[in-house]
Each structure stands twice: as structure tokens, then as C-alpha cells.
């Protein structure tokens, strides 16, 4: 896979604009007034394509996108936008042999907006999907991701975090192990404040022929206020004995011993809670191997804690 990097931007405004010129790789998106659809198709494995999504629209964004990452190709999508008027994303992705797809979403939503994100992704042999998603705000957020590891050595690593003050958020993740020797590693964290009600359900399905499967799923929640709610639902459906699957879920209030330790150093109650949240979320930012995005994720956490 080439180290040559090509950067481009997709800007949502009255229409959709592409900044940057592509070679053999194709981005075809069209639409207006917030309704956009089209595709990203990569065939050139000599360059790593980074696509930045930038929202400058006054409308709710409805995006329908098909992604096809060709053999040996590398695609990275970064979305660091604020969605003031809501958003509805529907993405279908296909990763062909030996390809990599990195998806970074560090989004802030208007507290009164309604948002949804649906992603269905199929992985072929030796493919890797890395998915990192942080969201803050939104009145309603529905997120569903279905990942199918269809061939040998396909792998998925992902982290998601929802930080909210008054959100009803439903996050559903389904990981289908449909071939042997596939790997998945998922972490989900949430910080629930005010009257937020956040649900995460994570299903790991391992088909009967899928020996040598490795899967980890961890979900953790931090309940900051009396009326805040968190519901974590980890599920396993394993139909083969030759697997290593681990899962865990835990939620609760901040550890008073940690808060006291911080306060004993002169840090105020408010700042101690902020540091606590930064630590809680920062723990899994470490999983992001992309240095630039790791730094951005830390900055994002600091800005919303």
C-alpha cells in the first residue's frame, strides 16, 4: 500500500462541493438543500485517500453514500463537523481484499436536533475497518452499525463515545463473524448527564464455521446526575467452540476516591469531574493509532468534558 497521501474535502453547502483533484479514484456526489447522495469508489492503490467532510449547510443533512474500497486501497474519512440542523446518514460500504477503511467522526450536534447514522459494511479477506466515533449534543440520536466480516482475517476495531446533557440516544452495533480467523474489538463509552437516556446494545454473532475467531466488546457508562440513565446490553451468539470472545459492561457514578484525590491537590469539584471524564474517555483514545486523529480526539474530549 502506497504512502502517497491525497487529501480532499467534501463540503456540504447549498450544493455539495469537492475540493481537491482525484486521479483514478472517484467521488460522485450530488444534490442540494441538504439532500445528497452518491458514491466513493477507490481503485487506485498507489495513494491513500483522505476525505474530509465539512458541513457549511443551513439545512439538515441527509446523506446517502455508497463506498467501495478496491483491493489494496486505503480510504480515510474524517468528519469533524457541527450539525446544527440535524443529520441523517445512510452509508453502505464494501471493502475488497487487503483494503483499509478508517472512519473518524468527532461531531457536535445542536442540543435540539435529531440525528441518525446507519452504516452497513462488508469486509473481504485481510481487510481492516477502523471506526472511531465521538458525539456530543443532539436531542435524539439513533445509530446503527452492522459489520460483516465475510472472509478470512477480516478485522474490525472501533470505539464509540456518546457524551450528552439531554439526549435520548440509541446505539446499536452488530458484528457478524461469517468467516474463520476474523477479529473484532469494540469499545463503547458514554457519559450521561442531566436527563439523558442512553442505550447501547452490542451483538457479536459467530457463525458455526468460524473457527479461530477473536472478539472483544467492552461497554462502560458514567452516570453524572441523579436523573441520567444508561442501559448497556452486551450480547453474544456463538456457534463455534474454537473462539476467544470476551465481553464486559459496567456503569455507575464517578469514583469518589478519585475525585477526593484530585481535590486534595487543589482542584475544584467541577474541574475534578472534568478531569475524571477526560480520563474515562481518554483511556480508549489510546486505541487510535493515527497520531493526528488521536490528538484531535483528545482535544475534542477536552472541549466537551
Amino acid at each position: 500500500m502506497s504512502e502517497k497521501i491525497l487529501n480532499c474535502s467534501l463540503i456540504f453547502s447549498d450544493v455539495i462541493e469537492l475540493e481537491g483533484s482525484l486521479t483514478k479514484n472517484k467521488i460522485n456526489l450530488k444534490g442540494e438543500q441538504g439532500n445528497f447522495d452518491g458514491s466513493i469508489k477507490l481503485t487506485d492503490s498507489t495513494e491513500r485517500l483522505i476525505v474530509n467532510l465539512i458541513n457549511k449547510s443551513d439545512f439538515k443533512i441527509n446523506l446517502s453514500l455508497n463506498i467501495d474500497v478496491g483491493p489494496n486501497c486505503f480510504l480515510e474519512i474524517r468528519d469533524e463537523s457541527n450539525y446544527d440542523n440535524g443529520s441523517e446518514f445512510k452509508i453502505e460500504s464494501k471493502l475488497n481484499k487487503d483494503s483499509i477503511f478508517e472512519l473518524f467522526r468527532l461531531n457536535k450536534f445542536n442540543p435540539e436536533s435529531v440525528n441518525s447514522f446507519n452504516h452497513k459494511i462488508d469486509l473481504s479477506g485481510n481487510c481492516e475497518f477502523r471506526d472511531f466515533n465521538f458525539s456530543n449534543g443532539s436531542q435524539e440520536m439513533n445509530s446503527k452499525t452492522i459489520i460483516s466480516l465475510k472472509e478470512k482475517n477480516a478485522s474490525y476495531i472501533g470505539s464509540g463515545a456518546v457524551i450528552s446533557n439531554s439526549t435520548n440516544a440509541k446505539n446499536e452495533l452488530i458484528i457478524n463473524h461469517l468467516s474463520k480467523s476474523a477479529k473484532s474489538d469494540c469499545s463503547f463509552k458514554t457519559v450521561s448527564r442531566g436527563k439523558s437516556n442512553i442505550t447501547f446494545s452490542g451483538m457479536v454473532f459467530v457463525d458455526k464455521d468460524c473457527s479461530d475467531t477473536e472478539s472483544t466488546q467492552i461497554s462502560k457508562g458514567l452516570v453524572m446526575d441523579e436523573e441520567a440513565r444508561i442501559n448497556l446490553i452486551p450480547m453474544l451468539d456463538i456457534n463455534n467452540d474454537d473462539v476467544v470472545c470476551a465481553h464486559g459492561a459496567a456503569s455507575g457514578k464517578p469514583d469518589e476516591n478519585i475525585l477526593f484525590y484530585l481535590k486534595s491537590r487543589g482542584i475544584s469539584k467541577e474541574d475534578a469531574e472534568k478531569i475524571y471524564i477526560e480520563g474515562f474517555l481518554g483511556e480508549f483514545v489510546d486505541k487510535i493509532s493515527n497520531d493526528e486523529m488521536q490528538k484531535k480526539a483528545f482535544n475534542y474530549i477536552t472541549s466537551i468534558s
Binding site: K263, S264, R265, G266, K269
Partner: protein, 243 residues
């Protein structure tokens, strides 16, 4: 500097400190020894303001202020520092970030601007060297995965960075090997000054051989049963508390 009068403290409905009185003058070093469960850590946490330690009655004055009216952060900003027996792990926050943050909180109290990155790095290098702390420890999460000795050294490092007027060391020597005990004690000795007082809680004479106390107090059942000079610690080391 610190005046404790007839202090009664309970933890989870258990009466631990019973009419405890103790005065600590400027620049003095007081060692507190005593068997397990005698209330040594209770006095440390009560002074620091741990909400799990409930003061039933009594008074504590620190720098002529009623310490019991202050929350833990204000106590720290007033110059009180507790080196924890079991330092807390804080995953997700690097030690360097944390240390810079606590330094800046105290600078703010003094009306100073936040320390700049270069100046902080220089300060951290200098103070870490004194304690034989490798700089790469600061890129790890606070106390997370640290050995017992590393955690204790990190406590002493914080003490050094915050420049407190009263230091309470709660069994800082436990978990330290001979070399770490020596370097930690040397660092503490360098921090001794006529303006800074220490309360050193320990089970063992070995720490007091490095950091010589002015007074030694023996705790039993939540009260001081005997006070003396360093020779009292030597006697306890030889004869035990029962002797």
C-alpha cells in the same frame, strides 16, 4: 501552624479518633507510630478533608483558619498536602498533564499565569531527577500500572511541585525498596525548611533514620498514649507497642 483540639472522628459509624489533641509548630517534624487500626490514617484523611471521615466534635486550626470549614481543594491551596498511602490510579490522563494541571491550580491561587510548556518540562526534569524518576513515567497514565515504589515517588514529586507548608506522609515508606527509600528520604530532607512542617506516619524506624523527627507520638485506640523524641521510635522498634 496546626492546632488539633479534642478531635473525635468516626468512619462508617465506628468511633476512631477519641479526643485527639496535637499541636504542630512551624518547621517541626512529627512522627506518628502505632499499631494497625490505631487511627493513624484517619488523622491524615481527616486533615485532608476526606468526606468518608466524619468529624463528630473538636477543632482544627491551620494557619489560623478553621480547617473543618474548608473543602479539600481549599485545604490544599492553603498549603496542606497529603501523600497517600494508596495513591489513586487515574487511567486516561497522562501524569505530565495531571502534574501541570495541579501546578497551575496553585499558581492561579498565587495570582500567577499558567506555567508555559517549556518551563514546566524543565521543572519536571529537575524534580524528577532528584527522585530518580525516569521522564517516560510522565507519559503514562497517572499511577496506572506504576509499581508501589513509583506511586510513592510520584506522591513525593507532587509534594515537591506544590510547595506545601504542611506535609502529611501516610506510610510513604511502605512499598519502597532500600534504594528508593533512600532517594525518597533525601528528596524529603531537601524539602525541609523552617516554614514547612511534616507529619510522618510510619510503622518503621528505618524511615525515621533518614528523616529525623523532632517529636514522636504513639497512637493507640484513636488517641496519643505517649510522646517523646526520636529515642521513643528506637524503643518501639526494639520492644514493640506492647513493651
Amino acid at each position: 501552624m496546626l492546632e488539633i483540639k479534642k478531635l473525635n472522628v468516626s468512619v462508617e459509624d465506628k468511633h476512631i479518633l477519641k479526643d485527639l489533641s496535637l499541636n504542630i509548630g512551624k518547621g517541626e517534624i512529627h512522627a506518628i507510630m502505632g499499631p494497625n487500626g490505631s487511627g493513624k490514617s484517619t488523622i491524615a484523611h481527616t486533615l485532608a478533608g476526606n468526606p468518608n471521615y466524619l468529624v463528630q466534635s473538636g477543632q482544627i486550626e491551620f494557619h489560623n483558619k478553621n480547617l473543618l470549614e474548608l473543602d479539600p481543594s481549599d485545604r490544599s491551596l492553603l498549603g496542606l498536602f497529603l501523600a497517600f498511602q494508596y495513591p489513586i490510579e487515574l487511567p486516561g490522563v497522562t501524569n505530565a498533564t495531571y502534574l501541570k494541571q495541579i501546578v497551575n491550580v496553585h499558581r492561579k491561587k498565587e495570582g500567577l499565569d499558567p506555567i508555559d510548556a517549556g518551563e514546566f518540562l524543565k521543572l519536571l526534569r529537575e524534580k524528577s531527577k532528584r527522585l530518580d524518576i525516569p521522564m517516560d513515567m510522565h507519559s503514562r497514565f497517572v499511577n496506572t500500572g506504576f509499581s508501589g515504589g513509583e506511586k510513592k515517588k510520584n506522591e513525593v514529586l507532587q509534594m515537591d511541585l506544590l510547595n506545601p507548608s504542611l506535609v502529611i506522609m501516610d506510610e510513604t515508606d511502605s512499598g519502597l525498596d532500600v534504594d528508593a527509600l533512600k532517594s525518597t528520604s533525601e528528596a524529603v530532607n531537601q524539602l525541609r525548611s523552617s516554614d514547612r512542617s511534616f507529619i510522618i506516619i510510619t510503622h518503621y524506624l528505618r524511615l525515621l533514620e533518614y528523616i529525623e523527627p523532632d517529636f514522636v507520638h504513639v497512637f493507640q485506640d484513636g488517641a496519643i498514649v505517649e510522646s517523646g523524641d526520636k529515642s521513643l521510635a528506637s524503643r518501639i522498634d526494639q520492644e514493640g507497642y506492647a513493651g
